[in-house]
């Protein structure tokens, strides 16, 4: 097997004095979807923040495309092609939809490439195209999630980090969002998907990690994890 695109080893993360993530290891291979599932407060968002460079690791290594990125400035990591759609969407509410998308392509200076990406994103999220000059703060939660994902895709990421894209959405939107993640997978995107909706995440992912109180307690092919009895009781509500 080839070297993983993202390889995390012994990653320890802390806020003030309490360790939120305690020495976790995981890999993401090119062209695959890996999911990190776990309950509230398990350390999923904290982990993604560290991969993106928003949080300096206390210990451990994060290698992306063979390069150590642990502790690197966030904008440099973005430049390498690691782009995140953060938890709670966090669209720029005072900007228009068009401006939010433009922010996604902030690092691309080729206007033709940007226009092409925008067409692709708008084809994927037609609702956004109808309201380009509208303020993003006025969108519904589901639409904001689409905008947050569209914004990340505008960067044409080598590794897309999705933090709970289905959080707080109506079932119809949840289904739409997961369909889009599945499409992205089919197109060959590499995705690290953080979810509390374990059932849907395990259906899409190739490989899964279960995180509990900052430790990875279970790992394996997503199908096997889905069949694991402990996971079934704890996360799939069976």
């Amino acid at each position: 097997m080839s070297a993983p695109l993202l390889a995390v080893r012994g990653l320890t993360l802390a806020y003030d004095r309490t360790d939120a993530v305690k020495g976790i290891d995981f890999d993401v291979h090119k062209g695959g979807v890996v999911t990190l599932i776990g309950a509230n407060g398990a350390g999923k968002t904290t982990t993604l923040r560290a991969v993106s460079g928003l949080l300096k690791p206390r210990a451990g290594s994060i290698r992306f495309a063979g390069r150590e990125i642990a502790g690197m400035a966030a904008h440099r990591i973005a430049r390498l092609g690691v782009v995140q759609s953060p938890e709670g969407r966090q669209v720029f509410a005072n900007m228009t939809i068009a401006e939010n998308l433009a922010m996604g392509a902030y690092l691309e200076s080729d206007r033709v490439a940007v226009a092409k990406r925008r067409d692709t994103v708008l084809a994927r999220f037609p609702r956004l195209g109808e309201r380009l000059s509208q303020s993003a703060g006025l969108l519904s939660g589901g639409e904001q999630q689409m905008l947050a994902m569209g914004r990340a895709l505008m960067a044409d990421p080598k590794l897309l980090l999705l933090d709970e894209p289905s959080m707080g959405l109506a079932p119809l939107f949840v289904e739409e969002i997961f369909n889009i993640v599945a499409d992205l997978k089919r197109e060959g995107r590499t995705i690290l998907l953080v979810e509390q909706n374990a059932r849907a995440a395990l259906e899409i992912a190739d490989y899964a990690y279960v995180i509990e109180s900052g430790r990875i307690t279970l790992r394996g092919p997503a199908r096997e994890i889905a069949e694991n009895s402990e996971v079934a009781t704890a996360y799939l509500g069976m």
């Binding site: 966030a74 953060p86 509410a93 433009a102 922010m103 902030y106 303020s135």
Partner: protein
């Protein structure tokens, strides 16, 4: 008579607007009330004074020169005082205390160096003279001031609305974490915003120094009260509000001086400040800022 008053009011008001613009930009983007801001106003005036006197610059050369020096000083002060606080995500009160202390120190140093004597531009700066149009007296330096304010405000609006850099500045103002996730070098943009703010404050100092031809270290302090009045009236962080409120304050002040009592002039800003806080704390044109979703 009224027309002349209005003209003078608009002139003063456009400089207030310029001053408040830098202040509100600093607050809106960097999220701190930086009390050293008035110091850049004094700095601008003094640099222009010395540049015209000793470097024999023309005033239209001295203006951008002084603004740039004030901008550079603003970067250094921001980086030294507020950089560490920002990185430690310190509470707002600490930046207020730190900049308050720094302000006292900076003014004392300036006074120790230049004394509190009132200084004036060399007479050559005013050689241009004045026009009379239908009884209205307009000096060349006033024309320079208005032209400079209009082009600076226009340039700033263009930067913020029409350029990628402006987009990054607005992204930083809304959510610095996500701005970084999109690849914005936040440190660099912070320096740029400090520079622009300091330069706006410095340019305003040159203009007020020119308009009243009286320069002394503490001129920035009395300006800060007006600055506060304008940004609170216009809405904190609101660019358009700062411009309109600045003009309003200038006109109200001149009318008060002309028709009420000239001693009341400096009370106008304070009165506006208090009334706004009582009746409309979000500012005249303010809406409650759209919350992050």
């Amino acid at each position: 008579m009224l027309a002349q008053q209005l003209l003078n009011g608009i002139l003063a008001g456009s400089v207030y607007a310029l001053f408040a613009l830098g202040f509100t930009l600093m607050f809106g983007v960097l999220g701190v009330i930086n009390l050293t801001y008035g110091f850049y106003f004094s700095t601008g005036a003094f640099v222009a004074l010395h540049a015209t006197r000793y470097l024999h610059m023309q005033i239209w050369e001295a203006l951008p020169f002084a603004a740039a020096i004030a901008g550079l000083i603003a970067i250094v002060i921001d980086e030294l005082l507020l950089g560490p606080l920002r990185r430690a995500k310190a509470p707002e009160l600490s930046s207020l205390m730190v900049t308050l202390g720094a302000t006292l120190l900076l003014y004392s140093l300036m006074t120790a160096w230049f004394t509190t004597d009132i200084r004036r531009f060399p007479p050559t700066v005013f050689d241009g003279g004045a026009f009379e149009i239908q009884g209205l007296r307009i000096t060349l330096s006033q024309i320079l001031i208005v032209a400079a304010v209009v082009s600076i405000v226009g340039g700033l609006a263009w930067l913020l609305r029409r350029t990628k850099l402006g987009l990054a500045i607005r992204a930083l103002a809304e959510n610095d974490d996500v701005a970084q996730l999109m690849g914005v070098n936040v440190g660099g943009v912070v320096h740029l915003v400090s520079f622009i703010s300091g330069a706006l404050g410095g340019a305003a100092g040159v203009m007020i120094g020119l308009n009243y031809n009286a320069i002394q270290p503490y001129m920035g302090e009395s300006m800060m009260l007006k600055g506060f009045a304008v940004i609170i009236l216009g809405g904190l962080g609101d660019i358009r509000g700062a411009v309109l409120a600045g003009l309003a304050l200038g006109i109200l002040e001149t009318l008060t001086a002309g028709y009420v009592a000239s001693s009341m002039k400096d009370a106008v800003g304070f009165l506006l400040l208090v009334l706004t806080l009582w009746f409309r704390p979000v500012g005249l044109f303010g809406r409650i800022a759209a919350k992050r979703a």
